[in-house]
């Protein structure tokens, strides 16, 4: 990026908005997935018997199975949430920044 362009982009309010919103959003989602995953892994390490509890008295299916499937589905849903917002809101902001840069020339 050229020096002059950098100045325009840096001071564009859309840029500030984009960075602020996206940074917050990306780290919130990252921390959610880390919390879910490490809770799962540390439960296995410290207290595996917890996951061995049957989901009801007359079944062999343990709660570990829906929890495991949940972690997989949760990962997928979070990526979906991110892509949805990034491909609409964030991309609109990026387009505005690019337009402002063009019109400043």
């Amino acid at each position: 990026m050229k020096e002059v362009d950098a100045k325009v982009v840096k001071h564009d309010p859309n840029f500030k908005e984009l960075v602020k919103k996206r940074t917050k959003f990306a780290w919130t989602l990252t921390i959610s997935i880390l919390v879910v995953y490490f809770s799962f892994i540390l439960t296995i390490a410290f207290s595996p018997s917890l996951l061995a509890t049957p989901i009801s008295s007359n079944t062999v299916t343990t709660i570990g199975i829906p929890i495991g499937i949940f972690v997989i589905v949760f990962s997928f849903i979070l990526t979906g949430i991110y892509v949805r917002r990034a491909n609409s809101e964030f991309d609109t902001l990026t387009t505005k920044i690019k337009e402002n840069l063009e019109s400043s020339k």
Binding site: M1, K2, E3, D5, A6, V9, K10, F15, L18, V19, R22, A26, W27, L29, T30, I33, L34, Y37, F38, F40, I41, L42, I44, A45, F46, P48, S49, L51, A52, T59, V60, T61, T62, G64, I65, G68, I69, V71, I72, V73, S75, F76, L78, T79, G80, Y82, V83, A86, N87, D91, T94, I97, K98, L101
Partner: protein, 555 residues
């Protein structure tokens, strides 16, 4: 159950004859015509695609990134395909078959890296780089040392991964098709060289997409057939399985026993994924950041779906394959008792395909397994070749002024050389215990590639000195701790106790990499370091917006 393929030798290229005879005992096995026919159709179709792709691969950019014309959906399937190697299909279903729930823990670890790659890495990577992650790491740092470091990390990861795939493929094909081990390895190596040298990324991606589609369809059919047997009730599947193997398969077993191992494995799988060169390279094959994001979304969906299928397949195998006399390895049972299946636990999914779909479906799954190996090794080789031609030759040796035609020629030569190395290593490692190899590849990716890539994008004060020293220490620590750990030190060298007690070194090697990168960056007071810190702002602006991406990237 082994179905062998004598006719394959008659109709296959003459190269097969050069490599010795087929074992006499294998000849007596029934022939698996359907597997042979289906595999030949796959090879024919993919060579056709390679021919088509070759005509469209004219520049270095076409060769590395398929001209940037892959859609998000296609790329998602291709990324999923890179992930769904024969090792993960057979290995994870085999682990579920053996230990039940533990298999699920492993597959979850492989999956959760994806959302993080999307949230923190994919976009910046796409906005800053052109062909390889080294483009990003060296964006504002000194080209030569960073490229050499990144290329070493990439090539080491690629070669280790290739060894694991080659040895696995040789054994699998030997078992499924009755080909001699060396013949199988050479065949895989030659087909891979053909795909990559002639068709570049375009052919490699389409081979991967077709295979991902076939594998997902086959695995879906198997899981569906298993569930059909149990009226689509998971509870009745699980209770039948526990009647066969005991209640302990329903809960965590011994896979991760202590917290350090658990965290270390989690870090290796998560950060390792974010440092695998053949995966990172795929983000440059799409037209823009929007498609890059979509590809992660589809990839996560396909991979997650695939792991749920392998879980059902593993349990299906417990019910339909375990103790089934057709699949029992009588000789092994006589020696050591129990109920060993032919070819070992990793063959559980293959036997299950026979149990639910007969010889025809077994043929299909065998052919798909072969195709899977071909597709994965092709992607790996292409990533390795681009590290050599783009990072080392063009950026370091030619200072970024290489002629596109010559650069492409170099990458083709590199492909052939890597292919030959893969064949030689595949044969050399036949009888070795290679369990540590994939773990080591992930450890290197997590400890050398990932910290440098991540900090170059996120930390202003990173300097060349910090990145080179820290990245090298991360790499050295990962290698050293794997050698001193239980798998190599005890199982391979035969010492009684491991010097380093944990199987997975990532927690330690990744920490060392991050800490030393930090330390050697903040103590770097040189004038070049000052400039590098200053250059961060413009890199940051581009990484956020994509403004300034090479015009050629946009289509």
């Amino acid at each position: 159950m082994m179905k062998f393929m004598l006719p394959f030798l008659i109709i296959a290229p003459s190269i097969l004859f050069a490599s010795g005879t087929i074992d006499a005992e294998i000849k007596q096995q029934p022939l698996n015509i359907s597997a042979i026919v289906m595999f030949l159709i796959f090879v024919g179709a993919t060579l056709g695609i390679t021919y088509w792709a070759a005509k469209r691969t004219k520049t270095a950019k076409d060769f590395y990134t398929a001209g940037g014309g892959i859609t998000g959906f296609q790329n998602g399937l291709a990324i999923a395909g890179d992930y769904m190697s024969a090792a993960s299909f057979l290995g994870i279903s085999g682990l579920v078959y053996l230990k039940g729930y533990d298999g699920l823990i492993y597959s979850i670890g492989f999956l959760v890296g994806w959302p993080i790659i999307l949230f923190l890495i994919a976009e910046r990577l796409r906005n800053l780089g052109r062909y390889s992650f080294a483009d990003v790491a060296s964006y504002r740092l000194k080209q030569a040392p960073i490229r050499i470091l990144a290329a070493s990390g990439s090539i080491a990861t690629v070669i280790l991964y290739l060894i694991a795939q080659m040895v696995g493929s040789g054994k699998l094909i030997q078992l499924l098709f009755g080909l001699q081990y060396e013949v199988a390895v050479i065949l895989v190596g030659i087909l891979m060289i053909l795909y990559v040298t002639f068709g570049g990324m375009l052919a490699t991606t389409w081979v991967q997409i077709i295979k991902a589609f076939l594998l997902l369809s086959g695995a879906t059919f198997m899981a569906f057939a298993v569930m059909y047997n149990f009226d689509f009730s998971f509870n009745s599947l699980f209770s039948t399985a526990t009647e066969v193997k005991g209640i302990e398969i329903m809960s965590p077993g011994g896979l991760v026993s202590d917290p350090i191992s658990a965290i270390s494995l989690a870090i290796a799988l998560m950060f390792g994924t974010a440092g695998l060169p053949h995966i990172l390279m795929r983000f440059f094959t799409v037209s823009d950041a929007k498609e890059a994001r979509k590809s992660v979304f589809y990839a996560t969906g396909f991979i997650g779906y695939f792991y749920i299928l392998t879980f059902i397949i593993g349990f299906g195998a417990i019910v339909l394959v375990f103790k089934n006399p057709i699949y029992l390895d009588g000789a092994k049972q006589a020696l050591s008792g129990g109920y060993p299946i032919l070819g070992g636990n990793n063959m559980a999914a293959i036997h299950l395909s026979h149990a639910v779909g007969g010889d025809l479906f077994l043929g299909f799954i065998s052919a798909v397994a072969f195709a899977t190996i071909l597709a994965v090794v092709s992607g790996l080789t292409l990533a390795g070749a681009s590290a050599i031609s783009h990072d080392l030759y063009s950026s370091v040796f030619k200072d970024g002024n290489a002629d596109s035609k010559i650069e492409m020629k170099i990458s083709k030569i590199a492909t052939v050389v890597l292919g030959i190395i893969a064949i030689i290593m595949g044969i050399a490692f036949e009888k070795q215990n290679i369990a540590f190899v994939v773990g080591l590849a992930f450890a290197i990716a997590a400890s050398a590639n990932f910290p440098v890539l991540f900090l170059s994008m996120y930390w202003q004060k990173l300097t060349t000195k910090g990145a080179v020293i820290g990245g090298s220490l991360g790499l050295a620590t990962a290698v050293l701790l794997v050698i001193l750990g239980p798998i190599v030190w005890v199982q391979i060298f035969g010492y009684e106790n491991a010097i380093f007690p944990y199987k997975y070194p990532a927690l330690f090697s990744v920490s060392i990499a991050f800490i030393s990168i930090w330390f050697f960056s903040i103590t770097d007071k040189s004038s070049s370091a000052e400039k590098e810190i200053e250059a961060y702002e413009r890199q940051y602006l581009r990484s956020q917006t994509g403004i300034g991406i090479d015009g050629a990237l946009k289509h």
